[in-house]
Assembly symmetry: C3
Homo-oligomer: 208 residues x 3
């Protein structure tokens, strides 16, 4: 199985994770099956669509039916099985973490392959990683995870920095850098969710 | 009058319907004339702009002043006559239905003409149809129609499926397929609004 | 110093103003440093990104690291110094005014240089000017400034009309037209904030 194949498979995994997170986010509303599936699809393809528009390359799902099919099927199944899903209070956050990690690190590779310097590839990674979730939270009227008390932006930025260091300074191949970035984002974000890791109080805003 | 002319006219009708829906959506806020016109214009051109960005074709209103003029004038008139408009509780939903139907079916034709397969043309139709309304509801702080209890996504998806079937399986010309799609979406959605058609309870989420 | 240089500097000033407004907007939430910086960056580059996508030109910050650096540094400094910032109740509105004015007038120039007629350049100016702020307000769950009781859209539209008149009718060079547009928007909007200038009551919606 070539590197490209593995990356595509991980992209589908991220798509499914984001689609399921879209269904969970809609559980606070009186949405119906097809409405929920639309939320799931927009969540799953939103970040990557924004990435491709900014990079001025063909939008990824337009010429590969697998992503749309994956998001739709996951959305339908997650909606039908929603009674079993929402038991875990943090499931939405964990699914989001997986989608964010894989999409962010994948966008870093794609941007680098197009000749962007590491700093801009990092920004593209952040935008791609969080874009779908921001659309999801806006559509379903939720406060975005970006303002969650647990570390959210930090793991993404740190993980992409590690990915940038791996490939620029340590000259690892791009696919190993992808693994470094994605795995470190998932682990840091999961620890943040589970142990409620936060920044020091001085670096968290206290609303007045 | 050629087919192109009729399509353009229907596009202007959809633009006016969406612009008026933008004014109605803003009626819950202390917005002023020009603020409301901006909401009307963004609502009217939002979905088609997103469509053209994704399809990587020139944005439709950038080279045809008719759409912007239509949205602006409709917005101004609807705002000035707002006292007479908001009497009908469902007027916003009906205007949205007309805009959604015409834009969704039009996007299906445009995507098909660019060589997209029916499944992707259908997705482009959904995105184009609902895009402007989602921007409208976000700008005006309303819960989006996508989570309305009445059927919303379903009529769009079913109507576009009928349009896809008409042109692919029954080999109708594209403009007849457009008529099939747009008319069926308007009718189904209007019936859903008027008779409060919903999915079976098992397919509607009950928030906890 | 050439005209281009001055325009770039003013673009950076607008970027910083918008980034700081993003931090202020997030002060109502329990956001942390990096989350707030993401909001600041999205606010600062959002409008211009939308402009470049619609105009189908390379996204401005992708090939010029200065904008991203400026938004990030401003965001970090504004967050760390937030205790000193939020004393002024209207600081957010004034920062927004500066960003809106410079971005709107700059987008008018850029659109004109690409051959757009004045009416469309004006629309591009409005979209670019308000785009970042709309993203900011959506991300931070605030009611958008577009529905603020004080004049908001009006100064932008009037200022851009003056800019269009300056260059089309009075044949001023584009950079002088830019000055006319940006300065008039900042002044009108600042007066509106300070003196609570509004439209006549008949042109403000009264929610029911």
């Amino acid at each position: 199985m070539s590197v490209i194949d593995i990356l595509s498979l991980l992209g589908l995994l991220a798509t499914a994770a984001f689609a399921a997170s879209g269904i969970l986010a809609a559980m606070g509303t009186r949405i119906d099956l097809f409405g929920a599936v639309v939320v799931a699809v927009v969540t799953a393809i939103g970040g990557g669509t924004l990435r491709d528009l900014i990079l001025d390359v063909p939008v990824f799902w337009l010429h590969d039916p697998a992503f749309m099919a994956c998001a739709t099927i996951t959305g339908v199944l997650a909606f039908l099985g929603r009674a079993h899903l929402d038991a875990h209070g943090n499931l939405l956050a964990y699914l989001d973490a997986m989608g964010v990690a894989l999409f962010a690190s994948g966008a870093f590779i794609k941007s680098t392959a197009l000749g962007l310097p590491p700093a801009h590839a990092l920004v593209m990674g952040v935008i791609t990683g969080i874009g779908g979730g921001l659309l999801r939270d806006t559509l379903t009227g939720r406060e975005t995870l970006l303002v969650s008390p647990e570390l959210y932006a930090t793991p993404i930025i740190v993980g992409l920095l590690l990915q940038a260091l791996s490939t620029s300074v340590f000259a690892l191949p791009q696919d190993l850098g992808y693994a470094v970035g994605a795995v470190s984002i998932v682990i840091m974000r999961s620890l943040a969710i589970h142990y409620r890791w936060r920044m020091p109080a001085a670096l968290i805003n206290r609303p007045r």
